[in-house]
């Protein structure tokens, strides 16, 4: 849009047409006070705080020419003869805006007097005190006294719970509707609303359970008063006492920038930290309310060493020595290949580097993995590293012309913040297409929902690829291996593949047209897709190759590998080496006597099922690094207590290959050590101490040794680039209380194309033309609220998903099952009985099993898709 030049308080400003006056003023550091306006939300003009004088050139009605003053300047008139709300008044050429006049100041004082007339002014006991826009704006623009009688104030019952995590104090509420609009427009969970009218107008929750949204915490940030406060932080601390420490959330592959607000060594609250490349100013409730496990009383405090049946406390020196000797003993007796190691995907890059140093460099085993070794283990994929998304991709900048294809993905459960990011793309004119075997939340935002048979996502993508290759669609792609790809699909037709996917061919054709006509395409693969071998990621890579969706910002593949740093684990070689086994193969190998000792860091494979539990029991030697005495740790010979997120420094790589630094917020309460420090201790005991003193030494070593990470040193990670659209120290007026980012926005690693300049290679595909599977297929689906370690002490505890099975209405009818009634599932592996939920959107022959704590998935499932018999269970 063309730019418009206007004058605001004597300053000449040029902004894009359509910009509102408040935003235009911000670009020239003129602060117009607001309450209901928020730069991330559509303006509504309700609070009337942003009233300004707007003068526009007068037009002669007869000649349609501007009326001129005697000196030749255009004569101006006050728009509509009254003040205008700046947030809903777009700029126009020649406009003169005055924000500091007697009339404006009278109105500003007036609105503040009105707002305070029904506000309790209980700032001394209000959690918002100290970071409250109402407080700040009253000090700057308001009257110093109120003429409203105190006894006339409106009073409501003090806070009422709006949900498990949020309290509503109705008498503090100034009815700006920011929270309602956030839920409607940004989160897409329209669970809040209004009731009644006038001074009785109040916020209510319309859902059951109340405030049923994974993004509820954000409403406390954007609330301009203390009406919405979190049950997690309520009365914990005054905000000026806390020290915000920038860290990166490791709950999922998004890598949200957050701060840990510390008072001395205690975590008081978690807040989002602005990073437009990752999480804008938001975070999800799991990230915000799921950090209380760091202060859980059951944390391990000292190393433990096995004495017979007992694990007894030991010194670090002793424990590290025992661990090293034990591993070395097995290596000496049974060889390096009798050792295996696994480290969880939420460890840091530095942890991974030391893990590889110990297990591969020193001990020499090829059996390394970052996956938990269960049925939901994803296959290693390279599509996202080869095809992008390219460096410079920022989902916040995408809209019209961008198509996002979600394949076997449920971002709400796997990487919640992507829900906001993808809905943002839709709001800006982009399109979403979901390809899943079952309904997901983002279906509601999608332009097209393609429902495939369980496990047939790859067949659908192959059908599209095949159609593009056969149909002679414009092939502008520079990808290599297209001919080999074409050959590999010989003998299969798009029609056959569509049938194999269980999708009408017309749908495939329409989808294909949609995909090839999109100027930008991002393909996002979720766990369900990634866990079906490499079929889906290869097909997706081929689709990116044939559509040319790579090599430029805004296009490419994003893989939601589970864990906060799965990308880093793969980049740093925590994958099976030459002749190495994948984690899921460890248990059989142990049973066969091929593996005899293991080092497990930050994973709990004993809970996966009977096979892994008994295999761990059968090991000669087991070292576990964990924060808690997990089921796996109970079986260990040495247990080494690890430091948790607030107690460690390090770098993490997110799903978009952005490396970000997380800082240490406190000393570990009982001397627990970061994984990399523990591993360095083991290495030292093995006589191979790399001698790093701080985390950044390891980061530097990674940058020196791993080509992709060459640019990812602390200095470059700490650069806060770009225009954040907010003025320093005034964010609290506009954006709420999320923190500005002063600690760096991270570095996006180059793709293979960008590093070596060669176009990516499309892997050949194996056509999946088999018939649609018959019988019932169970899909093991992820849940964000899975009840695992992070949930300890969390206010979200009541929201943890219990083990259950979800059936469609047809199957429920056939089996005569009602909600909550038991269903028995039997597979080749075994049989379990779970309570049933019914999802109206689920097709017959598909059931979903939620992958949560308390359900040993491996005892039923051999993968994410399992053939099962379903029967009514015995109560």
């Amino acid at each position: 849009m063309p730019d418009v030049t206007l004058i605001i308080d004597g300053r000449t400003v040029t902004v894009p047409a359509g910009t509102n006056i408040v935003d235009a003023a911000r670009t020239t550091e003129v602060a117009i006070p607001v309450f209901c306006y928020h730069p991330k939300l559509k303006p509504v003009g309700m609070c009337r705080m942003c009233l300004v004088e707007v003068w526009t050139p007068l037009i002669d009605q007869a000649t349609r020419q501007p009326v001129l003053n005697p000196d030749g300047t255009p004569k101006l008139g006050l728009m509509m003869g009254k003040l205008q709300p700046g947030c809903v008044t777009p700029v126009a050429a020649g406009m003169v805006v005055k924000t500091v006049t007697d009339k404006v100041q009278f109105a500003q004082r007036g609105q503040l007097e009105f707002l305070l007339s029904s506000h309790p002014l209980d700032c001394p006991v209000c959690d918002k005190g100290g970071e409250c826009p109402l407080q700040n704006l009253t000090m700057q623009f308001g009257p110093s006294t109120s003429r409203y009688d105190y006894q006339d104030k409106v009073h409501f019952e003090k806070p009422i719970p709006l949900g498990d995590t949020i309290y509503l104090d109705r008498e503090r509420c100034i009815l700006c509707s920011r929270c309602v609009r956030f839920q409607d427009d940004i989160a897409g969970d329209p669970v809040l609303g209004f009731d009644s009218r006038g001074r009785s107008w109040e916020i209510i929750s319309k859902s059951d359970p109340p405030f049923d949204s994974k993004f509820s915490g954000n409403t406390t940030d954007i609330c301009p008063v203390g009406a919405l406060t979190s049950s997690d932080f309520r009365f914990k601390a005054r905000v000026w006492e806390v020290r915000p420490v920038p860290v990166v959330c490791t709950h999922c592959p998004v890598g949200c920038n957050i701060t840990l607000d510390m008072r001395h060594d205690r975590l008081m609250r978690v807040m989002p930290r602005e990073n437009d490349f990752v999480n804008e100013i938001w975070n999800c409730d799991k990230g915000r309310f799921g950090m209380r496990h760091v202060d859980d009383a059951t944390r391990l405090t000292t190393p433990l060493v096995r004495r017979g049946e007992q694990l007894v406390p030991a010194s670090w020196d002793e424990a590290l020595r025992v661990a090293a000797q034990g591993l070395m003993r097995v290596r000496s007796s049974a060889g390096a290949t009798a050792l295996a190691g696994m480290i969880g995907a939420d460890a840091s890059n530095e942890d991974f580097a030391l893990f590889r140093h110990v297990m591969h460099g020193v001990l020499g085993t090829p059996h390394l993995d970052h996956r938990p070794g269960g049925p939901a283990d994803v296959a290693l994929e390279t599509a996202s590293a080869r095809f992008g998304v390219s460096s410079g991709t920022n989902l916040l900048g995408l809209g019209t012309g961008t198509l996002v294809l979600l394949v076997g993905a449920d971002p709400e459960e796997e990487a919640p913040l992507y829900v906001l990011r993808l809905r943002g793309i839709v709001a800006r004119g982009g399109q979403l297409v979901t390809v899943n075997a079952h309904p997901t939340k983002l279906d509601g935002s999608a332009a097209r929902v393609v429902r495939v048979a369980p496990g047939r996502e790859a067949a659908l993508i192959q059908a599209v690829v095949c159609g593009i290759l056969d149909g002679g669609a414009p092939m502008s792609s520079r990808a290599r291996g297209i001919d080999r790809l074409r050959t590999s699909l010989k003998g299969a037709s798009a029609v056959q593949l569509a049938a194999a996917a269980g999708v009408e061919f017309e749908v495939v054709r329409a989808l294909t047209d949609q995909l090839i006509s999109a100027p930008n395409m991002i393909i996002m693969i979720g766990r369900t897709g990634l866990a079906q071998g490499s079929a889906v990621s290869d097909a997706v890579g081929a689709l990116a190759a044939v559509t040319g969706a790579f090599g430029r910002p805004g296009s490419g593949v994003i893989a939601l590998n589970p864990g906060g740093n799965a990308r880093g684990a793969q980049d740093l070689g925590i994958v099976p080496g030459e002749g190495g086994l994948a984690a899921a193969q460890y248990w059989d190998a142990i049973a066969r006597g091929e593996l005899k000792a293991m080092l497990v860091a930050g994973l709990d494979p004993a809970t996966l099922g009977a096979a892994s539990a008994s295999a761990l029991d059968a090991l000669d030697f087991l070292v576990v690094q964990d924060a808690f005495l997990s089921d796996t740790a109970r079986r260990a010979d040495v247990v080494l207590p690890c430091a948790m997120l607030p107690e460690r420094d390090g770098t993490f790589t997110n799903a978009e290959r952005r490396v970000q630094r997380s800082r240490q917020a406190r000393q570990a309460p009982d001397g627990q050590r970061a994984h990399w420090q523990i591993l360095q201790g083991i290495a030292a005991a093995l006589g191979s101490d790399p001698g790093y003193s701080v985390s950044s030494d390891v980061t530097d070593a990674i940058a020196a040794q791993v080509p992709a990470y060459a640019g990812a040193r602390y200095t470059s990670l700490g650069v806060t680039a770009g225009d954040w659209g907010r003025q320093a120290n005034e964010s609290v007026y506009y954006d709420g209380t999320s923190y500005t980012n002063t600690e760096g926005t991270g570095v996006q690693l180059p793709t293979g194309v960008e590093r070596d300049g060669l176009p990516p290679v499309a892997a050949p595909l194996t056509p999946l033309t088999g018939g649609v599977p018959t019988g019932t297929l169970a899909v093991l689906v992820p849940r964000a609220y899975d009840g695992r370690d992070w949930a300890r002490g969390s206010k979200l505890a009541p929201r943890m998903v219990p083990p259950h099975v979800i059936v469609g209405p047809a199957d429920a009818g056939t089996l005569g099952i009602g909600v909550g009634e038991p269903v028995t599932l039997t597979s080749a592996r075994g049989s379990v009985t779970l309570p049933a939920q019914i999802d109206r959107g689920l097709a017959a022959g598909t059931v979903l099993i939620v992958d949560v704590a308390g359900f040993a998935a491996a005892d039923l499932c051999g993968g994410v898709i399992t053939s099962v018999d379903v029967a009514r269970g015995e109560a």
Binding site: V44, G45, C47, G81, L83, Q111, L115, L175, G198, R199
Partner: protein
Amino acid sequence: MAPSQAIFSRSRAGQESEQQFMPPLTEHIVLRDLDIPDIGDPEVYHRHGGYAALRTVLTEKTPAEVVALVRDAGLRGRGGAGFPTGVKWGFLPKDSYPRYLLCNCDESEPGTFNNHQIIDRNPHQLIEGVAIAAYAIECHTAYIYVRGEFAAGARTLERAVADAYRRGYLGQNIMGSGYDLDIVVHRGAGAYICGEETALMESLEGKIGQPRLKPPFPAIAGLYGKPTIINNVETLTNVPMIIRHGAAWYRQYGTAKSPGTKVFSICGHVRRPGNYEVPFGTPLRELVEADYYGGGMRGGRAVKIIVPGGASSAWLTADKLDTPMDYESLAAAGTMLGSGGVIILDETVSAVELAYKMDEFFKHESCGKCTPCREGTTFLVRVLHRMNHGGGRASDIPLLHDVYNQMAGNCFCLLGESAVVPIRSALRLFPGEFEQAIERAAASAATLRANAIPLVTH
């Protein structure tokens, strides 16, 4: 036809006024129920030319011709703003369909009750008007939004709509013209704000009744985001008669700028409160004093306050009784014609109490969306309450001026702006009454202090 009435009226008890008044209308345009008994009966309506205008329009005129005819007649919106109806109809964007017609029957302005009489006693003329307007703006669904409290009226209207369907005046292929129209009668839930056009649309869409941000204006994006025209009941009831008799006929009534007639709802301390249809430009005095209209003041008392266009209009005093009742003249007098609800109050009324009562109404009806209306009306009512109950303070008069000035021009919609009107009128016209209220409060406080029960000490 009404017999010719005495042209001398009793404006004061026992006194013959020398004032000469125009005779009342012998034939009404809107309140035809006064001329034709039982016109609400479809047979009777039909016998008196009912639906002939609709037939003419559907068979002989293009939509554009209908719009032009109504524009030429100079019909102005009776909902309050007085905007030319034909011009409004011409605002719809080209080639944007579907379009909707909303008939605003949420008549909630205090002192206004003519819509009620129309739907109660002459519903078919309204339905015919809705159908003609719908044809003119090329829409196929029209809604009549009826105030929640008009239960009986809404039922009458629903029966009339059902009858119109039965007789083929509504529904598919009306009178063989190929034109389809559905009319839906919808009752509100009892909120003044739902008479505001955008709040009405929100309410009709099933949402909480609150005004929308404008622009976009309803003609561009209204009901369900589609181009929408909203007209008042009285406006649309005029339309069949304009079609039947033509623009020139219509313009013989009223003034050049305010053509036609207007149904004024006269209430207050007059002898004969009620709805009276008179040509625009009829002097206010005539409405108050003519025997066949208000019939003079009850008990022969003097006129003190005239609220000429519903509670939202600025007050007049008796010296303005000769103001002609048309849009321009009332605007020149510093008030507005508004909804045509004329409230005449005599000297027994306290201006302080009247301002309190009226602002209590606006406070009760404030939707809560914007700060100045939600909090400002509450503030005003609190201060006016104490002033009326012997608790006024010396600082209250400047305070009241400040509070309404903090609201004036700053509200989201006209409800809050309307709430400013009564208190501003009262303070402007009767400042002495406020001062007296404060003096009385001070005196009674002094008396209370003097007569305080002495503290007994032993």
